[in-house]
Amino acid sequence: MIQNIKNKWLGIVLSACAIFALSACASAPQDKVEREAYLEANDPIEPLNRGVFKFNKALDEGFVKPVSTMYHDAVPETVRNAVRNFLNNLRSPLILANNILQGDFDGAKVTIARFTMNTVAGFGGIADPAGDLGAKYRNEDFGQTLAVWGVGEGPYVMLPFLGPSNPRDAIGIVVDSLIDPVGHVIGGVAATTEGTTRTGMQGLELRSRNLKNLEELEKSSLDFYTTVRSLYRQLRTDAIKNGGTQDTIPTPGITFEDDVPQGKLQAQLTR
C-alpha cells in the first residue's frame, strides 16, 4: 500500500477520535430554543473538539506559526509563489481523478490544460501561465467528490494536527492519499516520504499565506472556535459548488425569517 505509514497514523488518529467522540457525546438540551441552537451548531462532541482545538492552537503558536513566519519573512515572494505553484501542479493528477469522479468534464479539461501548460511552459510547474490566462487553480479532493455524490458532511470534528473536519472530509483525506497517482508513480517507501513532505510543505505554505488574515479574524471574533467551525463549513460548501459561479448561488444569510428552523437553514447551507 502506498504511503503506508502516513495512513496508519491517520487511521490511529481517526479511530481515537471515534472512541473519544462516543464518550464525549453530550445529549441534546430539552429547552426548545437551546435545542434548535444545538442542532444548528451540528457539533455534538463540542467539548472534545474544543480540547483538540486548544491543542492545535498551542501547536500552532509554539511551532507552526513561528516556522511559517520565518518562512514568510526569509523567503522572497517570488520563490514562495514558485513553491506554491509547484505543489499545486503536483496535485493535478489527483484533482483530475476527482474531476472525473464528480463527472465534471469541463473541470477535467481545465486541469489537463493547466497541467500541460504549466509543466511545459511554466518550467516544470513553478510558474502558472495557465492561471494568468484565466484558468485559475481550483482544488478538488475526495471529500468534495463524496459531497457531489450526495454524502452528507456529518457532525463537526476537530482533528488533531489536521484541523477542522467532519467524517466525510476525513474519509476524503484517507482516500486521496490512497489514490494519489503521484504516490503510485513514485512507489514504495519513497512515496511515504514524498507524501509526508508534501503535506508538510502544503501546510507551511498555506499557513504562511494566512498569517495576517487569521490574526485579524481572531482579534475581531467573539469565540474563535466557533468562527473557525463556521468558516470551515462555509469554505467547504463553496469549494463543493466550485465557487458558486452558477446563478443558483445559495442564500443562507438573509432569507426573511430570522428564526430559520434548523432544517431549513441546513438545507440552504448545503444546497
Partner: protein
C-alpha cells in the same frame, strides 16, 4: 516529446478559453451600479490618510447606514435568541452590533494600497428575489478576492443585506458566534451584550493607539 512544445501550449490555451467563455447577464444593472458606486465612494472617503481614526469611523458609519440594512442583518444574526430579550436589550444589541461592525472594519480602509474594486456580474436567484452582485477585489499581486453582495430592493432604493467573501457569509459566521456566546453562558442574552461591549471597546482602544 512527441508533440512540439508550441502545439501543446496552443492546444491547452484553446482548451482553457473554450471552457471559460460564458454569456454575461445583462439584468440587475441597477443593483450592480449601486454596489459599484458604494464601493468607489468608500475607497474615496475612507482610504485617505490625512484623517483621524475617529473621523474614519464616523465616515464609515454613515456609509454603512446608507448602503446596508444593518438592523435586518442584526436581527438575523441574533436569530431565535431575540425571543429571550426585552425591547431595551434589543435596542442596545442593535447599537452594539453596529459599533462592532464599525470597530472591526473601519480601520482596515487605512491599509488600502491601490486595490481595484470590480463588478463581475449580477445574478438573480429565484428563491429570495434579492440580487447577488458578484465583485472582486484585485490587488497588484496575488489572486483576486471574490466578494458577493446580496442586495435587497428595487428602483433606486437598495440596501445590502449580506456580504460573502470567498463564499463565507459575514452574517452566518456572526450568527453562529453570537449563538455560541449565549449558549455557553446559560442562554443569557445579557452575556452577549457584555461580550459585545468588551469587544467593541477593546477594538476601539487598539485602533486609537495605532
Amino acid at each position: 516529446m512527441l508533440l512540439g512544445r508550441r502545439t501543446l501550449i496552443l492546444f491547452s490555451a484553446a482548451m482553457i478559453t473554450s471552457v471559460l467563455i460564458s454569456p454575461v447577464s445583462q439584468a440587475s444593472e441597477n443593483a450592480g451600479a449601486f454596489v459599484k458606486e458604494l464601493g468607489d465612494k468608500a475607497i474615496r472617503l475612507l482610504t485617505v490618510s490625512d484623517i483621524t481614526e475617529a473621523e474614519r469611523e464616523d465616515r464609515f458609519r454613515s456609509l454603512l447606514r446608507e448602503g446596508f440594512d444593518v438592523e435586518r442583518i442584526g436581527r438575523f444574526v441574533l436569530g431565535r435568541y431575540a425571543r429571550r430579550a426585552n425591547p431595551d436589550m434589543i435596542k442596545e444589541y442593535h447599537a452594539l452590533f453596529e459599533d462592532l461592525i464599525v470597530a472591526t472594519y473601519a480601520s482596515r480602509f487605512s491599509e488600502y494600497s491601490g486595490q481595484k474594486f470590480e463588478i463581475r456580474r449580477v445574478a438573480e436567484p429565484k428563491d429570495t428575489g434579492d440580487a447577488i452582485v458578484m465583485s472582486q477585489i484585485v490587488a497588484g499581486s496575488g489572486s483576486p478576492v471574490r466578494v458577493d453582495w446580496q442586495v435587497h430592493g428595487a428602483g433606486n432604493n437598495y440596501k445590502i443585506v449580506d456580504v460573502r467573501v470567498e463564499g463565507v457569509s459575514m452574517s452566518v459566521t456572526q450568527r453562529e458566534e453570537f449563538a455560541t456566546v449565549i449558549r455557553r453562558n446559560d442562554g443569557k442574552v445579557d452575556a452577549l451584550l457584555e461580550a459585545l461591549r468588551q469587544k467593541t471597546s477593546s477594538l476601539k482602544s487598539k485602533s486609537a493607539s495605532r
